[in-house]
Symmetry: C2
Subunit: 335 residues, 2 copies
């Protein structure tokens, strides 16, 4: 059973979704899709870390409003982020009286929180469950790399951490025209020895391939059966690697059926983001804007969302460790 | 429902449990109960962080052996630790081909991984699920406070991070004489404004009280109905506070029915640990040694395990933020 896709018999409904992003994201190709745009990325807070919590709060409270739910209607919130000890989530949720399960999957966290939320709702453990993640460029840069003021050079393989947050509320309540969660899969760690903390795409591509391949095997489907296989933030480098590995291991061409959130949120030509976007907030804000809207409208019918994470820390990078990758997946349908 | 205790109708069985601890822990009152004692706390590794991963591996593989299971028999592993980005768990599990869900609840993580594992097994999503956490004194000291070599003075309220790991495998397979998981409860964040990173007990006591009180209310029970209400690592300061808050809010005396893992693992008189033990590995190794053994033997019949966590980071502490607390709970019975 450990290779298996878990089937959600009750097909939980997306009750609502919301995204809150910063200035740079509001200037990219998806600008018209976001619920909340906060151009002051400090959010009026004293630190970038606390600002990130406020992006989470914006996405969380907007999702509650859109679903016409109160915080007391939530039985559980799965939330996480890239900050050490998941403090963006902890400090965001301390002001709400909701059961909270801290979740860590690096940039795969949006998929992991969705997997766990949908399992809770499907089993009847929760009437409503929220999946919530965020990232913040300045908080991530100084934690994983250098303080922004240092002005370090970014190699071509580097990705730009998205400032933003996304929230999906899943529930058993019937919601017309809203997407439903169909199946989920937990990721396994894959570590092929990448040591370059500026090349997360390469570190995560093998995990993305393994999860997508295992999902297709487990469901007896092929890429053509999906309107979209959406990875989290492989960026330009990781996406190309994913296609190569998938072709070698599964013999198919993933490209016509695949997009990557890291290549969707910014204009790579004009926004100076090198290999694309990244961060928990990248896949979260792309899923919770354009993708969910197109699922609602029937422009997309079957979307396999596979967010990818690089399980490194500043300490492990400084100690010369390799970068293990992981990818979790969830299949959404439009009813 | 958001205040509710979740009832595990199928009452998953503990398939096995295992603990692996370091030198100081092997000299404490519980020394005879641990499965694996590794007196070289570097575990032959180049870093304390990687050594912690090896304690996790020891607990994990020992639990698999004791349950007579292979890694492929595990459908999911919920694991976490105190290291930034949960790297102790990530690097421990990269060598195994198991689905992995990163879990963060600071020192409450052992309870959170048990809650999630038991929910997965109870719903039939998993035949077997593992709950795994660790901490390491040297890795935690240099991350949260000062490098050990600095020799910083420790105030009386400080606790000593346990070097060790614990693993519980839960499953649907019937296991005679093994404990069963009966009910679970997710914690809510409580922040009463404690700012002292050397007084985690005070930061966590309100959350422990809230979870215990909500569990008792939700089940219509009182402390006398339990052989033991076992908190994670409140230590001497937090335990006294818990009794005070509980008496004020619920009007009962918790003391005769309560123990704290942080007060059990070391001899406070002779081992120079100030207010007691702490860390994800504290509640994990105490639960996975003496407590589980006494549940198996029928010396204990009903144990409500409520591990407590302080949701701070080094960054949030340096920024002068308060320390939010959380506590998750699971009820074990001896059949």
């Amino acid at each position: 059973m450990s290779n298996s896709v878990i089937n959600l018999k009750n097909r939980p409904f997306v009750q609502s979704f919301a995204s809150a992003v910063g200035k740079k994201e509001s200037e990219g190709p998806l600008k018209e899709y976001f619920d909340v745009i906060c151009k002051d990325t400090s959010m009026g807070q004293d630190s970038w870390e606390m600002a990130e919590s406020f992006y989470q709060k914006k996405a969380f409270t907007t999702a509650l409003q859109k679903a016409d739910l109160k915080e007391s209607d939530l039985d559980i919130v799965f939330a996480g982020d890239l900050q050490s000890q998941c403090t963006a989530a902890g400090f965001a949720l301390r002001d709400y009286s909701v059961p909270f399960s801290g979740t860590y999957g690096a940039c795969s966290t949006m998929a992991l929180t969705l997997v766990l939320s949908s399992l809770m709702v499907n089993a009847g453990y929760a009437q409503n469950a929220a999946a919530l993640t965020s990232s913040h460029f300045c908080a991530a840069e100084r934690q994983f790399r250098k303080p922004v003021q240092y002005g370090g050079q970014r190699p071509p393989t580097a990705q730009w951490t998205v400032t933003g947050s996304g929230c999906v509320i899943l529930g058993n309540g019937k919601k017309e025209h809203m997407p439903r969660a169909e199946k989920v899969i937990f990721g396994k760690i894959r570590d092929l020895g990448i040591e370059d903390e500026n090349n997360m795409g390469a570190a995560m591509a093998p995990a993305a391939c393994e999860t997508i391949g295992r999902f297709l095997d487990g469901t007896g489907t092929s890429p053509e059966d999906y309107d979209l296989i959406l990875t989290g933030d492989l960026g330009a480098v990781g996406t190309k690697l994913l296609y190569d590995i998938f072709e070698r291991e599964y013999g198919g061409n993933l490209a016509p059926h695949h997009k990557d959130c890291g290549l969707m949120i910014y204009s790579l030509d004009s926004q100076d983001v090198n290999a694309g976007g990244s961060g928990c907030g990248c896949s979260a804000s792309v899923l919770c804007s354009k993708i969910m809207k197109e699922l609602c409208e029937g422009k997309l019918n079957k979307v396999l969302f596979v967010a990818t994470g690089a399980l490194l820390s500043q300490t492990s990078a400084m100690q010369g460790e390799t970068v293990p990758g992981i990818a979790h997946g969830i299949l959404f349908s439009n009813q």
